[in-house]
């Protein structure tokens, strides 16, 4: 299981996941608002 506190590598991977999730959520919300 991913633990961002265990190492910098895992923290970096966690950051990439958060970035991907944020892009999807913001994209979806902006798309719904535009419709």
């Amino acid at each position: 299981m991913l633990n961002p506190l265990r190492s910098e590598q895992e923290a970096f991977r966690f950051l990439l996941y958060v970035l991907a999730v944020a892009v999807v959520i913001v994209g979806a919300v902006l798309l719904v608002r535009a419709l």
Binding site: P4, L5, R6, E8, F12, L15, V18, L19, A22, V29
Partner: protein, 202 residues
């Protein structure tokens, strides 16, 4: 028989010493408690933010003809995220014994962090409203300022790490002085992604 008993002693899984937890290392536990307290701190500010926007329905920017600079903040977000990549590069350099990569990576990370902070201060100067103007202004400055303070702390840690890297303090086996600021720096970036998404974009 004797070698078997030595091997058994080396792989002993009995109860730990009285002052040591058998489950969590002290450093990890310390970092865990710190991050939890940080999440609660940001959570308090986000609660105020969502109260204004959702519960009180007071509206958000644009407000009184004042708009948040989404584009500039977006470029600044890219600057901060790229600093996480250079931080990761520095750590990879430290792990592989590539001293030059570690030094350049740390220095670049610090420069990018400094750029982010400078742009944010410039944003405050030109944004056209003050924290005392309204509740929205208060929470905008509160959230972005709280994050900015964390960037400042991260920059301080990076300054120590960079100085030590140039003095040849780290080895492929012992580089905790880069690892811990790295974890903290990625945490600061994660928080900014959440702040930028909610405050500026949504």
């Amino acid at each position: 028989m004797e070698s078997a008993s030595v091997a058994h002693a080396e792989h002993h899984h009995g109860p730990p010493a009285a002052n040591v937890s058998s489950r969590v290392e002290a450093q990890v536990l310390g970092m865990l408690l710190f991050i939890i307290s940080e999440v609660m701190l940001f959570g308090a500010f986000f609660t105020a933010y969502f109260f204004i926007r959702v519960v009180a329905d007071s509206g958000w920017f644009p407000l009184d003809d004042k708009e948040l600079p989404k584009l500039v903040a977006g470029v600044n977000t890219a600057v901060l995220i790229s600093s996480s990549f250079t931080m990761h590069w520095a750590l990879e350099g430290a792990r592989r014994g590539n001293r030059r990569a570690m030094q350049v990576g740390l220095l670049t990370t610090a420069m990018l962090g400094l750029t982010f902070l400078s742009v944010q201060i410039n944003e405050y100067v030109h944004i056209g409203f003050a924290p005392s103007d309204n509740a929205q202004g208060t929470i905008f400055y509160g959230l972005t300022g709280l994050h900015g303070a964390h960037v400042f702390v991260g920059l301080t840690l990076l300054t120590f790490a960079t100085t030590r890297a140039f003095r040849g303090h780290f080895t492929p086996k012992e580089h905790r002085g880069v690892e811990v600021p790295g974890i903290y720096w990625h945490f600061v970036d994660v928080m900014w992604i959440v702040v930028y998404s909610t405050v500026y974009l949504l």
